[in-house]
C-alpha cells in the first residue's frame, strides 16, 4: 500500500497529460498510466484515503504483533491469573497494565486483538487470492470455451451459489476437523463462484471483440488469447471483487471461529474472542471483551468495503478501453516480428 502523501501531481483526468509523472516513473511508461490515473482519482477521494490509512495501520499492527507483545510484556496466550483477574476470578477492565482489559482467563485483550488481526488478515488474503485464482480460471474457461464446458461449469457455479453456505461449511468442517487450513479451504470453496460468474460474463463479451478475432487470425492459440487478450481486460472486475472479497472472508472466518468451527482456541482470533465474550454471558460483567473485538472487526470490514467501493468508482470503463488498445498493438508487433 503506497503512502497517500507522496508527490501530488496536478493532472487528474486525461491519459496523455501525466507526461511529467510518467517520465519520473522508472519503468514501463505505457503500462503504468491507467493505474496512475486510478491512483490519482483515489487520492482525491477522502473516503478511500481514510479507509486505506486504516487498513495500512491494521496491517502494520498485525505485522508488528510480536514486537507489541514484547513491549507490553504479555504473550497472546499467556494467562495472568494474578494481575488480570480479580480475587473472585473475574477479568479486570482496561487499566495501565492491560490497555483494553483482560479476558476471562486473565489474558491481555489488547495483545490478543492484534494477534487476531494478524490471523484475520492472513486467512482473508490467502482465501481471497485462492478464490480469485479459481474463480478467474473457471469463469474465463466457461466464457471462452462456451458450449458443453460452459454448461457444466455454470452448473457448478449455480449449485455452489444456491447451497446453504454456512450449513454446508460446518458439515465440511465436521468431516476434517476445524483448523487454519480447513477454514481457508472452506472460505475459498464458497467464494469462487460469484467471481467466476462475473468473469464469465465479461469474457463472453470480450471474446467477440475484434482484437480477439485479430489474434486468432494471426494464429494465436486459445490459451494465448485467454492469457494475453482476455485476462488483462478482466483486471478491473477482478480487482474490485478482490477488495470486496477480503471483508467477506474476514467475516466468514470470524463466524466459523465464533461457532467453534474455525481456527481453534487458544489461538487468538476475533471470532474466538467474541465467542469467549458470549459464553456464559461474560460480556455482562466484562463489556470490553465484547466491545473491542466487535469494533475491530467492524472497522476493518468497513474500511475494506469502503475502499472496494471507491476502487470501483475510480476504475472507469475508459481504462478498460485504453488497456485493450495497447494490447492489440503489442500483440501485433510481437506476432509480426515472429
Amino acid at each position: 500500500m503506497p503512502e497517500p502523501t507522496v508527490d501530488a501531481p496536478t493532472d487528474t483526468t486525461l491519459d496523455n497529460q501525466p507526461s511529467v509523472s510518467a517520465a519520473s516513473a522508472r519503468t514501463g511508461v505505457a503500462a503504468r498510466s491507467p493505474f496512475q490515473l486510478v491512483w490519482s482519482r483515489l487520492r482525491h477521494d477522502p473516503t478511500a484515503m481514510v479507509s486505506a490509512v486504516v487498513i495500512v495501520l491494521v496491517i502494520v499492527a498485525a505485522i508488528s504483533a510480536p514486537l507489541i507483545s514484547g513491549l507490553v510484556g504479555h504473550g497472546p496466550d499467556e494467562q495472568f491469573r494474578k494481575e488480570g483477574l480479580t480475587p473472585s476470578g473475574l477479568p479486570t477492565g482496561p487499566n495501565d497494565q492491560f490497555l483494553l482489559g483482560a479476558d476471562n482467563l486473565g489474558r491481555d485483550l489488547f495483545v490478543r486483538l492484534i494477534y487476531g488481526a494478524q490471523l484475520s488478515l492472513i486467512v482473508a488474503f490467502v482465501a481471497t487470492v485462492g478464490a480469485l485464482g479459481i474463480g478467474t480460471l473457471v469463469g474465463m474457461t466457461a466464457g471462452f470455451m462456451r458450449g458443453k464446458v460452459d454448461t457444466v461449469l455454470t452448473w457448478f457455479m449455480d449449485t455452489t451459489l444456491s447451497l446453504p453456505q454456512l450449513l454446508f461449511a460446518i458439515s465440511l468442517v465436521s468431516l476434517v476437523g476445524p483448523s487454519f487450513g480447513t477454514t481457508v479451504v472452506v472460505i475459498i470453496l464458497f467464494s469462487w463462484a460469484p467471481i467466476a460468474r462475473v468473469v464469465r460474463g465479461q469474457t463472453l463479451s470480450i471474446r467477440e471483440k475484434e482484437f480477439v478475432e485479430a489474434a486468432r487470425s494471426l494464429g494465436a492459440s486459445n490459451w494465448r488469447i485467454m492469457r494475453v487478450d482476455v485476462l488483462p481486460n478482466l483486471v478491473v472486475p477482478i480487482l474490485v471483487y478482490g477488495t470486496l472479497l477480503i471483508p467477506q472472508a474476514i467475516v466468514f472466518e470470524a463466524t466459523l471461529s465464533f461457532l467453534g468451527l474455525g481456527v481453534l482456541p487458544p489461538t487468538a482470533t476475533w471470532g474466538n474472542m467474541l465467542a469467549a465474550a458470549s459464553t456464559g454471558s461474560m460480556y455482562t460483567i466484562a463489556w470490553w471483551m465484547l466491545v473491542f473485538p466487535s469494533a475491530a472487526l467492524l472497522c476493518v470490514t468497513l474500511a475494506f468495503n469502503l475502499l472496494g467501493d471507491s476502487v470501483r468508482d475510480a476504475l472507469d470503463p475508459r481504462q478498460t478501453l485504453f488497456a485493450k488498445k495497447r494490447r492489440v498493438t503489442k500483440l501485433k508487433k510481437k506476432e509480426i516480428a515472429e
Binding site: S162, P164, Q165, L167, I170, S174
Partner: protein, 319 residues
C-alpha cells in the same frame, strides 16, 4: 405453466439427490470414524466394530446410500447416531422456531431495506441518501453474530441494568402457546437477521429506483398530475420489484447462515442449533438431514420466485 412447474420441481429433486450423494461420499472419504467417536475414547476395537455394525456403517457406501434414498421417498431420513431419534422427527420438532425466525427476519429485512432504499432514491445526494448509504455500508460490513451480540448487550443487558426488563435474553415460546410471548422473544433475533440482510435490499432498491425514476413513463405519470407518492410506489416500485425478488432467492441461502448464528446467540433451539450440535457430536444422519432440509428450502424459494415473476411481470407470463 404446469409443464414449467413440473420441470422445476423435478430438477429440484435431482439437486437434492445430488447434494445427499455428495454428502454421503464426503462422509465416506472423511478421515474420522463416527463409530470410534460414538464408542468413546476408551473403546476397544471390538466395541468399535460392534457400534459400526449397529449403525449399519459396515455396509458398502453404495448400499447405504441406496437405503437412504429409498427411505427418503418414504419420509424416512434415518436415525440419529446420538440419541436414536428419527431424524425427521427432530427436524420437524425444531422447524417452527427456525421458520418463525426466518419469516420474521425476511419481513424486517424487506421492510427496512425498501423503506431506506426508497427514502434514499427519492432525493439522491440528500442527507437522507447519505444516511442510507451509511446504513448500507454498516449492514454489509457487520457480521450477523456481532450484530446479535451488540443488540443483546444494549437491549437486554443495558436496559435491564437501567431497570427496564422487556427483552428476554434467550429462548423461544411457540406461537400456538402464546403469540405475544412468541413475538417478544423473537423481536431481537428478527432484527439481528433482518438488519444485516436489509443492507443488500436497501442498496438494490436505491440504485434501481434512481434509474427507473429517470424513465420517460415516470415523467409522463408526473405530467398527468399524479401525486409523487403514487408515482414512486405504484409506477416506480413496480419495476424495482423484479430485481428485488431475484435478490431474495439469491439471498436465501445466505439468510440460512444468518439463522444458524442467530439461533446460537439467542438460544433458540432450531434447526441451525441442531446442525451445530450434530457437527460437534459427529452425528452424520442429522447433519445430512439438516443440510437436505435447508437445501429443500432454497429450492422451494427459487421455484416460488420464478412464480412471482409471472405475477409481477406480464412480459414473463406471455412467454
Amino acid at each position: 405453466m404446469i409443464r414449467f412447474l413440473s420441470r422445476r420441481i423435478l430438477s429440484g429433486i435431482l439437486t437434492l439427490i445430488a447434494i445427499s450423494g455428495v454428502m454421503f461420499l464426503l462422509f465416506y472419504v472423511a478421515p474420522n470414524d463416527p463409530a470410534a467417536t460414538i464408542a468413546g475414547p476408551q473403546a476397544t476395537n471390538d466395541q468399535i466394530d460392534q457400534v459400526r455394525a449397529r449403525l449399519g456403517l459396515d455396509m458398502p457406501v453404495i448400499e447405504r446410500y441406496w437405503l437412504f434414498i429409498t427411505g427418503l421417498f418414504q419420509g424416512d431420513l434415518g436415525y440419529s447416531f446420538f440419541n436414536k431419534e428419527p431424524v425427521l422427527d427432530s427436524l420437524v420438532r425444531r422447524l417452527p422456531a427456525t421458520a418463525s425466525l426466518a419469516v420474521g427476519g425476511l419481513v424486517v429485512a424487506l421492510g427496512l431495506g425498501v423503506t431506506i432504499g426508497v427514502g434514499a432514491a427519492r432525493k439522491p445526494g440528500s442527507w437522507r441518501d447519505k444516511l442510507g448509504t451509511a446504513f448500507v455500508l454498516t449492514g454489509l460490513s457487520v457480521p450477523t453474530f456481532v450484530a446479535g451480540l451488540i443488540l443483546l448487550y444494549v437491549f437486554f443487558y443495558l436496559l435491564t441494568v437501567m431497570g427496564l426488563t422487556f427483552f428476554p435474553a434467550a429462548g423461544y415460546v411457540p406461537f400456538t402457546e402464546n403469540p405475544l410471548e412468541w413475538a417478544r422473544h423473537l423481536l431481537l433475533p428478527w432484527i439481528t437477521v433482518g438488519f444485516v440482510a436489509a443492507a443488500t435490499y436497501a442498496r438494490l432498491v436505491r440504485s434501481q429506483l434512481v434509474s427507473v425514476m429517470g424513465e420517460d413513463y415516470i415523467r409522463t405519470a408526473r405530467s398527468k398530475g399524479i401525486r409523487e407518492d403514487r408515482v414512486v410506489y405504484r409506477h416506480g416500485m413496480r419495476n424495482v420489484l423484479t430485481p428485488v425478488v431475484t435478490q431474495i432467492s439469491l439471498d436465501f441461502a445466505i439468510l440460512m447462515g444468518g439463522l444458524v448464528v442467530t439461533e446460537r446467540i439467542f438460544g433458540i433451539n432450531g434447526i441451525g442449533r441442531l446442525a451445530i450440535d450434530s457437527v460437534n457430536r459427529g452425528d452424520q444422519p442429522v447433519i445430512i438431514g439438516a443440510m437436505l432440509l435447508a437445501s429443500l428450502f432454497v429450492v422451494i424459494a427459487s421455484i416460488l420466485v420464478d412464480l412471482a415473476y409471472a405475477l409481477l411481470d406480464s412480459r414473463v407470463r406471455v412467454k
